[in-house]
Assembly symmetry: C2
């Protein structure tokens, strides 16, 4: 009985914390999609204030006492043994969240939130104006804050004990993974992808893509596309922002954004499919996890596995476009009247080196990530001064992509992540590819006639499988546990490499 | 020195309270403009939680102690005599805000916020479905909460002492005004307006208005209209919602909304001008009042005087359309090619009884208000059971407007106010007309060539006058003080009636 009451108190703290976090998410979503330019400074102050309030709601003596009492402490890890599995999972994740937050001084949290708000606004402007120097002081501040945060969590410059400062940041997104393990995964991946790229012929031209695609018409098509793949628009919406993202403002309010270029319809479309994959995951957390710390992805990489699964494995497949292309054609008859699904499928899978990560093809994408991984490791280790970043970026672009950006807007300023202090996040994208292909290999074993379903626009079997195997767990399972439970395997680049080799071999070789 | 420190502490409490109030405003703006339908319930919970947090931020023992120490108590009203005027004004208004809040139990505030969120959502749905019964329980709850609130503030059912429950609600919007005084103003106003209406001929037809006006094109024109009248869109924005409104989400983030009907371009346009008038006021509060309780209108009626000034006195004037009509015509050449500014001026001033308050003409508008005033007085006094409201509404519609709504959506469900518990708000609209015409009479005495300026689209002299006489004071002056300072007069319906009689006499008589 006492346990029940204590659990209920802890759940209430968690729920109120979630509501506050989501109020912050609304303010941030609004900043990215709606906020008038001059409203930015006050918004940053406001975010900082609310961040402090949310932090204090979670980090109270009561939370610590309740967690201790319920027996999920490091000292007494088996104290919760009599409880149902759901409660034990709740306590474990709550402890993890609490431990992170309690180690950060309230003043630091507030300062960091304010700085992040200003930094993100400065980034958006610097990107518009191709003005890295104006962003530099913010970037330096973000690096300092990230380093401080990792130190508060017990990581050290020397990398002893818990690990390096960068390990501490990586752990936010992929619990338990170290930079050294990541390097061991990335290194052969990079070699193989580089080798594969060399086997493929030069890019073809698809002139029908380089026409004028009205932005309003793109938006109309994309809303229909959301319906087509089963995005319930009574539980979410689509908006535009400088950088596409997904955010959960409520259990039934999952919002995605995209961006439009009049001369390139694919960017908007594939961002919508990508972000819908994230949204499906968030929409799939079951009622019993609502408004709790368990309503979250197993890890950022597993989250990315879902978005990249939809974007690439589904969204760049031939049967998918057999079904969807006629609809797209009706929206853009002038541009697409002489094109068919087969040609369009080729066009959305062209291997064409690009400077922009989010526009990269499946084969070279991981190279964009490995570039960022290498640079952010150096930034956090203090081996690369922030002012030297644009030069180092161009150097690595040449090395990995055989290209060099003419402007910082198309180079080091293209992504929002570092401006928010999200160092350690990028690797999730490449890991997501690996997880995604392992899940897909398993799904193919279990579900018959996937090609027929895709060509008919029937996504229900796929959604149901993902719901049952992945979504419903929220973050009750670690990414490693989830992968083992679904596929019986460890994380491996093999299925991803086999998929890339087969698909692009058929499309592009010789 | 001690005083300085105490003032600074109090200002900080006020500032944080404003930030929280504006976070709430963002959530509410989002609910009206963006929130996916299924997100409504959680949003209501979230609003309630944040409302409680904002309430607790303001209502602390420290706030009471600081206010007492600084000498602005009822017991010691001259204790602040040594302070600069700005500080004294701050303390007076802060005390008023604090007194209101401190008398409401935190639990009541939270419950009320949750109920308001649900009620507003239920209203929106009931209005869509013309389903008053589904809204009835929410309306009853809103009435109960409003009555309770007035009782907490010391008003009584019997109307003794401070006044009736309805007086308590009216005081929120127009400090110091009683229902009996309002009846004394409204009664002759109604008689004269009814008499005037009878003098005017039957409405004319303007078939060019009843054509298809594309909604996207209307939105494009309205954004240009905002630029035209000087709305700085880097400090605000325009969106759409079921009911047009203005909200300040930051000192430099003032948002307005409108709504569009394909068969009626005027509704969208005049809502934009009306809400812009509110926005100009909010944008005009000077830097020294930023993020303080003084950054507010002198009263709701003075706020409405600003919106209705722009909507009617400016926006329905002949010179205004001399300047703007050619631009509108360029947006809608097919619909307006055979129309000129003079005819359009007549069309926007047609006297045509309508069931919809926001579409009403200047002459009959006050009758819509008096109807609502009478009904809400009865609802709050407990003389009219909520379930009898639709019948009573139709009865009063016949009496005042000689019309009867066929549906509740066009009748009792048309306005959002009651669904938010905002009883006592409606009279501000009619009072705003009176204030507005008194200000206009004064402006005409002081500024030369207003007609020429309007026809040329030069609003700077008008904006500067309003800035200097009205906006810059925020709520440092009471509405009565402000009016006396600007015009040397007391509140009076005479200038409004003279304006209506002259303008509509010329347009419609005989």
């Amino acid at each position: 009985m006492k346990t029940d009451a204590s659990l209920e108190k802890l759940r209430r703290i968690d729920r109120e914390y979630r509501y506050l976090e989501r109020a912050l998410a609304v303010l941030q979503w609004d900043e990215e999609t709606c906020l008038p330019p001059k409203g930015v400074e006050e918004r940053a102050e406001q975010l900082a204030l609310l961040q402090g309030i949310a932090h204090r709601r979670l980090v109270t003596a009561e939370t610590g006492r309740l967690l201790g009492e319920l027996g999920s402490t490091t000292e007494n890890p088996r104290g919760d043994e009599g409880l149902p599995a759901l409660d034990r999972d709740f306590l474990r994740v709550m402890r993890r969240v609490y431990d992170r937050e309690v180690k950060l001084p309230a003043d630091f949290v507030r300062k960091a939130a304010r700085a992040e708000g200003l930094s993100q606004a400065a980034w958006a402007q610097a990107r518009r104006n191709n003005d890295f120097p104006s962003f530099l002081p913010h970037l330096s501040a973000m690096i300092d804050l990230a380093r401080k945060k990792a130190r508060y969590w017990g990581y050290s410059d020397a990398g002893e004990g818990k690990g390096s400062l960068y390990d501490g940041l990586l752990d936010i997104y992929e619990p338990g993974l170290r930079a050294s393990e990541l390097s061991a995964l990335f290194s052969p991946l990079q070699e193989r992808l580089t080798a594969l790229l060399k086997q493929f012929g030069p890019p073809r031209e698809y002139p029908f893509l380089n026409q004028d695609y009205d932005i309003e018409a793109q938006a109309r098509f994309n809303r229909q596309l959301m319906d087509y793949i089963g995005f319930d628009q009574s539980r979410g919406r689509l908006d535009t922002s400088a950088h596409p993202f997904t955010t959960s403002l409520g259990s039934d309010d999952i919002r995605i954004t995209t961006r439009y270029f009049p001369g390139n319809p694919l960017s908007g479309i594939f961002s919508v499919i990508h972000e819908s994959g994230h949204a499906f995951y968030e929409m799939g957390f079951p009622a019993e996890l609502r408004l709790s710390c368990l309503a979250d992805g197993a890890s950022m990489a597993v989250h990315e596995s879902q978005s990249r699964f939809w974007e690439n494995i589904i969204g760049r497949s031939r049967p998918f476009w057999e079904g969807l292309f006629p609809i797209l054609q009706r929206h853009f008859p002038r541009q697409l009247n002489s094109v068919d699904a087969g040609l369009f499928y080729q066009a959305v899978n062209q291997l064409r080196p690009t400077l922009i990560r989010v526009d990269a093809d499946e084969v070279s994408y991981a190279l964009h990530i490995i570039l960022r991984f290498e640079l952010e490791k150096q930034l956090i280790a203090g081996e690369l001064p922030p002012e030297a970043l644009p030069g180092r970026w161009r150097e690595y672009s040449r090395r990995y992509l055989d290209m060099e950006s003419q402007t910082d807007s198309d180079g080091v300023l293209q992504d929002v992540h570092w401006s928010m202090g999200a160092f350690g996040y990028f690797p999730s994208y490449a890991l997501g590819n690996l997880y995604g292909l392992q899940f897909w290999a398993q799904m193919q074993k279990e579900l018959p006639d996937l090609e027929t379903a895709l060509a008919a626009g029937r996504f229900q079997p796929i959604r149901a499988w993902l719901q049952d195997r992945i979504y419903r767990w929220g973050c009750r399972l670690s990414p490693q546990e989830l992968l083992r439970q679904v596929t019986g395997e460890q994380l491996s680049p093999a299925p991803f490499l086999a998929y890339v080799e087969t698909k692009y071999g058929a499309l592009h070789r010789g």
